[in-house]
């Protein structure tokens, strides 16, 4: 019974943190190259433009939900399952979500990188 809750927490963390990363990435792509923008109109303009983008607060909200899901998950379950499982799965779901929602070209090279890092994270936490 406990493991159902643990995997439920993992699923919640993976879904919300993937949503957060995709929303933040979309927001920053809409803002455009921050370095060029800063040289053109200054740091305040950059900050204003980021804060005005509607995807930015949504991304932060999703990240906050992911963080609280992690806290709840850790209060029920084992840190040695929840942290490595959610961190490594997030690398894989991010690759999928970036392909579907951000139309990034996730080629073989990027898949291999995502899977290697996901595997490495599992080993680090073991």
């Amino acid at each position: 019974m406990k493991s159902i809750y643990e995997w439920g927490a993992v699923a919640a963390i993976v879904l919300t943190s993937t949503a957060g990363d995709v929303l933040l990435s979309r927001a920053m792509k809409q803002v455009g190259d921050v370095g060029q923008l800063r040289r053109r109109s200054g740091l305040l303009a950059v900050v204003g433009r980021v804060l005005r983008n509607p995807n930015f607060p949504l991304g932060i909200l999703a990240m906050a939900v992911a963080f609280y899901s992690l806290l709840f998950g850790l209060s029920w379950g084992d840190v040695s399952l929840i942290v490595p499982a959610s961190t490594s799965l997030t690398f894989v779901t991010n690759a999928l979500a970036a392909k579907i929602f951000l139309h990034e070209r996730v080629d073989q090279r990027r898949w291999v990188a995502a899977l290697l890092v996901a595997g490495g994270v599992v080993l680090l936490a073991a």
């Binding site: 690398f91 970036a98 990034e104 290697l116 890092v117 490495g120 994270v121 680090l124």
Partner: protein, 146 residues
């Protein structure tokens, strides 16, 4: 990719790793906080180690947002997973924790993954950018004609 951009990616990894380590160190100095005295958690920011950790994590967030403004999510995430390697090195050489063979193997896998992704392109050309490039090409070609 310019040197400055690699510097931002390094900033993401270093700020995340050192920030997390400082938070962990600071929270151990503060001691455990029980659930029915939860408001005390607000006061933990008065601990200088925790405060410095939070400052570094703000730096991490600024670098991460900057990187996402000119690179793909599927490039930034694997490339900045160098932070896991840094955390392992900090744990081994500064916090004197023992690091098992399995963990070193994990570090090796992540290193290969980082190498793999950083050898490829950082950004997918999207229609808007391609269009502007095409417009530029049209201008150039029409300019070349007499």
């Amino acid at each position: 990719m310019t040197f400055r951009k690699y510097l931002v990616l390094a900033g993401v990894a270093v700020f995340a790793a050192v920030g997390d380590c400082l938070l962990s160190l600071g929270m151990k100095q503060v001691g455990s906080i029980s659930l029915h005295r939860l408001p005390e958690i607000v006061l933990t920011v008065l601990n200088p180690t925790v405060a410095l950790g939070i400052l570094l994590l703000l730096g991490f967030f600024a670098c991460y947002m900057t990187a996402l403004s000119w690179a793909d999510l599927t490039y930034v995430l694997p490339a900045t997973s160098v932070s896991y390697i840094l955390i392992t090195l900090i744990a081994r050489f500064f916090l004197h924790e023992t690091v098992s063979l399995g963990r070193w193997l994990g570090v090796a896998l992540i290193s290969i993954g980082v190498g793999f992704v950083t050898l490829g392109p950082a950004l997918t050309p999207h229609p808007r950018q391609v269009e502007s490039n095409d417009a530029l090409a049209v201008q150039l070609s029409s300019g070349a004609e007499p």
